[in-house]
């Protein structure tokens, strides 16, 4: 590594999606472009007695079709979705792990809820039936690194592995870490995240922060930047992506893949009551500096879009300070899925790369009248078609985590990504 580390580019060569907008990258992208929502009444349990009854749920996900049978009883729903998405991403990238050295492949995921549903189930068995009824797999299923570990074991990836827990910001931090590992010599990093916070225990754990929308109309429940913003809808799923050194991708004929991780920065907000401003503006600026990209070169921003009035205003102000009033198109397709926590930012990254690929900014379904002070060019009503070269993805996690990622479309001179169609959403 004696030569310039910064010269080692990290490109994304594969995408796997398991999200409320669909299973499979193209199913997801079609829903996003059409503004088709995956939010509905919670069906994983009876939400009647809870103040929050809407969520983004993955339609038609059956673990037995997507996950090896040995792994199903060992792992939580969140890991099931990640295993399916990781397999789909490898297939999309046309990567056969057997063709790589075990130690050249790494896994970094984000997780926020861990194996909440699995844990609840085993807790119930403990207090209803006794200790011998608790699954031995409780010991490994619940904790945040479980998904990373299972993906690593399944595909024989023995390079540096880790998990990042920064709530919604974690998905971006995972890609920052993936790029760091590529610069340190890893050839390929499976990166991204999913989350499965939709069980009574998982939902109640979120209620205390007061940021969940209690509106029962799925079209009106999650309206970031809108005068009627009422909080966010929770959701499950996410995306797993294959980050690869440009050299490795090029040697395999994958060219520039879907695009390059051009810049990354993370920050942490000052404590409540501090006179210092939130860290989002500086984080954006540092990510742009890292990418060597002036604000004028950014073609689209995928916003964090909290859906909480003061947080929306803070984000809109930071955007205005960096880009000028209505200075850049802003979108938040997450209104179709709800906030996916550990899975949210990686799904945004996947969506941003697809937007770069197709020259199409998906619109933000829901918001109508922007709240006073939100002086941003929010893309609403219909997608916006224009040549896209650079996207900025933002995320804020509960408690002050803040992260920004700059993505750049592949150089037109490099061969295009092989046809990414025929996505089956994972193999068992």
């Amino acid at each position: 590594m004696s030569t310039s580390r910064a010269a080692v580019e990290a490109v994304v060569t594969g995408i796997g999606v398991v999200a409320p907008t669909g299973i499979g990258t193209e199913a997801h992208w079609q829903s996003v472009v059409a503004g088709k929502s995956g939010i509905g009444r919670i069906s994983r349990f009876d939400p009647t007695p809870y103040p929050v009854r809407l969520a983004g749920q993955v339609p038609g996900f059956l673990a037995r079709e997507q996950v090896p049978s040995r792994l199903i009883p060992q792992t939580d729903h969140w890991t099931h979705m990640a295993l399916a998405a990781a397999a789909a991403a490898l297939e999309d990238a046309r990567v056969d792990p057997a063709g790589f050295d075990d130690y050249d492949m790494a896994v970094v995921t984000a997780s926020s809820s861990g194996g909440t549903e699995f844990g609840q189930h085993e807790m119930e068995r403990l207090y209803l039936n006794g200790p011998s009824w608790v699954s031995a797999y409780q010991s490994i299923a619940w904790f945040y690194a479980a998904t990373t570990g299972q993906v690593s074991i399944r595909h024989g990836m023995r390079g540096p592995c880790g998990v990042i827990c920064c709530e919604q910001a974690g998905g971006i931090d995972a890609f920052g870490q993936a790029r760091r590992l590529i610069r340190l010599g890893s050839r390929l990093v499976v990166s991204g995240g999913t989350d499965a916070p939709l069980c009574p225990y998982g939902l109640v754990a979120q209620l205390s922060n007061g940021k969940l929308s209690q509106v029962d109309d799925q079209a009106r429940a999650y309206l970031p930047f809108d005068v009627h913003a009422s909080g966010h809808v929770p959701g499950e799923g996410g995306a797993m992506l294959i980050v690869e050194s440009a050299e490795s991708a090029s040697a395999r004929g994958a060219g520039g893949g879907y695009g390059t991780i051009a810049g990354y920065a993370a920050g942490f907000d000052p404590p409540p009551g501090s006179s210092r401003p939130p860290v989002l503006r500086r984080t954006m600026e540092r990510a742009l500096e890292d990418a060597g990209c002036p604000p004028s070169e950014v073609d689209v921003v995928f916003a964090d879009a909290a859906g909480v009035a003061e947080e929306d205003l803070a984000e809109a102000r930071a955007l205005t300070e960096v880009f000028g009033p209505r200075g850049v198109p802003v979108t938040a397709p997450k209104t179709l899925t709800g906030r996916l926590y550990g899975g949210g930012a990686s799904l945004d990254i996947a969506t941003a790369l697809l937007a770069l690929r197709d020259g199409l900014i998906p619109y933000t379904a829901g918001p109508g009248t922007l709240a006073p002070g939100c002086d941003i060019d929010l893309v609403t009503g219909q997608p916006r078609e224009l040549p896209l070269r650079t996207a900025l993805v933002l995320a804020r996690g509960y408690g002050g985590f803040t992260a920004a990622l700059v993505l750049r479309a592949p150089d037109p001179a490099s061969p295009p990504q092989a046809n990414p169609g025929e996505d089956k959403g994972g193999t068992g």
Binding site: P68, S69, R70, P73, Q74, S132, W133, A136, Y137
Partner: protein, 86 residues
Amino acid sequence: MSRITLAELTEIMRTSVGVEEGVDLDGDIAEIAFAELGYDSLAVLELVSQVERRYGVSIPDEAVPEMPTPARAVAFINERLTLEGV
């Protein structure tokens, strides 16, 4: 007095612990090590706890090394069933 058969143990392995890709539990597995069948020590612990619940027998965790194969597991469990007079 209740007894466990190899077929019953195999059924619990199949339904409660799952089957590794490429492993055929219908074959002659009696003398094959659990590890070779894709069941690590945690999987054997889970299998044992399923057996405990279904057969009302108690098997200490420390006994796992006494059950390296399905045949040895069946023999050990039946010994415990006899001892406990279940």
